[in-house]
Amino acid sequence: MKNILETKELIKSFGGVHAVDHLSVNIQEGQITGLVGPNGSGKTTLINLLSGFSLHDGGSVFFGGAERKKITPWENQIYNITRTFQQIKLFDQMSVLDNILVIITERNPFLALFERHSKYHISQAEDILKQVDLFEKRFHNAGELSYGQKKLLEIGRVLAMDTKIILFDEPFAGLFPEIIKKIENIIKALKQEGKTIVLVEHNMNIIRNLCDHLIVMDAGKLLAEGHPEKVLTERVVLEAYLGE
């Protein structure tokens, strides 16, 4: 399997502290790769670097083999990558329907000026909302939704982007079991469609249940990598988690 996404000696430092320290990982295409590690181990920072949310200070990132020197967020669509956010970043004062419509309409500003609400776009958005059980709430403002519904809307946005690579940043955090079940099925469905998924998560059952491959990070470095069953039993991983 060709690695669709690879980093070499990736560095990101905040005032001298290396949040990501010479990290070299590669993500296999069509697989669900788990990304685990104690808090502050640089997981979210890595996601931010891969999605251009913040710029890396050193090392290089390869998309499908080609290096992406300066990762600008608006080129993510061209490089077929999208993400969800750990702290929810929805368009609060816009309706749920608009939150999805914004994702599927014209990107070029001049064309966007002349693009009207077409029936096709609205039905497409409504299908996506049905997938995440938010169809009845489509005219509510995103800000008025419950926490779980907001997480579902973020996933709806990712579905609307329909990219090859999807980075989930703790999508399950703080949700009720039935919603977790729902999101797991969505992710499994995405995997059937051949999408590559990176999943940042703390809950070990979900990791074992979903992930084909697991990366463990600690203090910005790669601690261990491999099949979840094998990796989770390694002594060094347990120590990092349980602390000496």
Binding site: K89, M94, V102, E115, H117
Partner: protein
Amino acid sequence: MEYIFHITILISIYGILALAQNLVMGSAGLLTIAGAAFYGIGAYTAAILATAFGFNIFTTLIIAPIVAGLIALGIGISFARFRDDYFLLATLGFLMIFNTVVRNWENVTGGSFGIAGIPKPHIFSLTFDTPFSFLVLALIVLFIVIGICYFISRSSFGRVLNAIREDEDALKIFGYKTSTYKLMVFVIGAMLSSLGGVLLASYITFIDANLFTVNESILLWAMIILGGIAKNRGALLGALLLITIPEALRFFGFPNEIAGLMRQCIYGLLLVFLMLYRPKGILGQYKL
């Protein structure tokens, strides 16, 4: 009766300005205080072209937006990297420099003399010199601007602007080059504001730098916030209210030297009240 025409003309001029300000600040969330500057650029372009080069006001209705648009393009590009407070400060700087340049550039802008004797618009045999005829012209331009604003806010472009106001960083991730959008809306806003300037110049036939000060921009802020942010109707309502109510003050029989200050005081308290209790304004459902 003509006095009501006069007030309605003022309402339509300020309606145009409020719509432009609302487009830039209300829907796109770009904090700009340069509204009065582009208003002034439009007025001075029309005045200079009309008095020095004998242009017809109708032609300046086309040229002024181009001039304002180009200047806005330059300003927009150089201020592109600023966000919120810093963008506001940069536009404040631009407005104050514009004001001082206009006040001092004697041979072009007439310096502190201002420019007098700006002709009324005329087309073929028709001249718009009576209050009623000018009102018709002002309303036509107002409806054109309303049309443009509704066209923009109804399009996908308008929805993207709202998303920029809500969370620009998130929107970038989903493939939008938000800096181009912001630049475009800033330029469109400037072009629309300049139309208001052209109308003002040919209506009161005399302009000087005191018409385009910080207080004018604050008045535009008050209008779109009172009316309701990001709603075209809100901007128009704000313009209507903030022109008629103070004018009614003129008939309240306040001793005249107090009337001006009383009006200023009302604006101030209104802004404080709105920010505290009704940040959405009357019609709006968005808050900044």
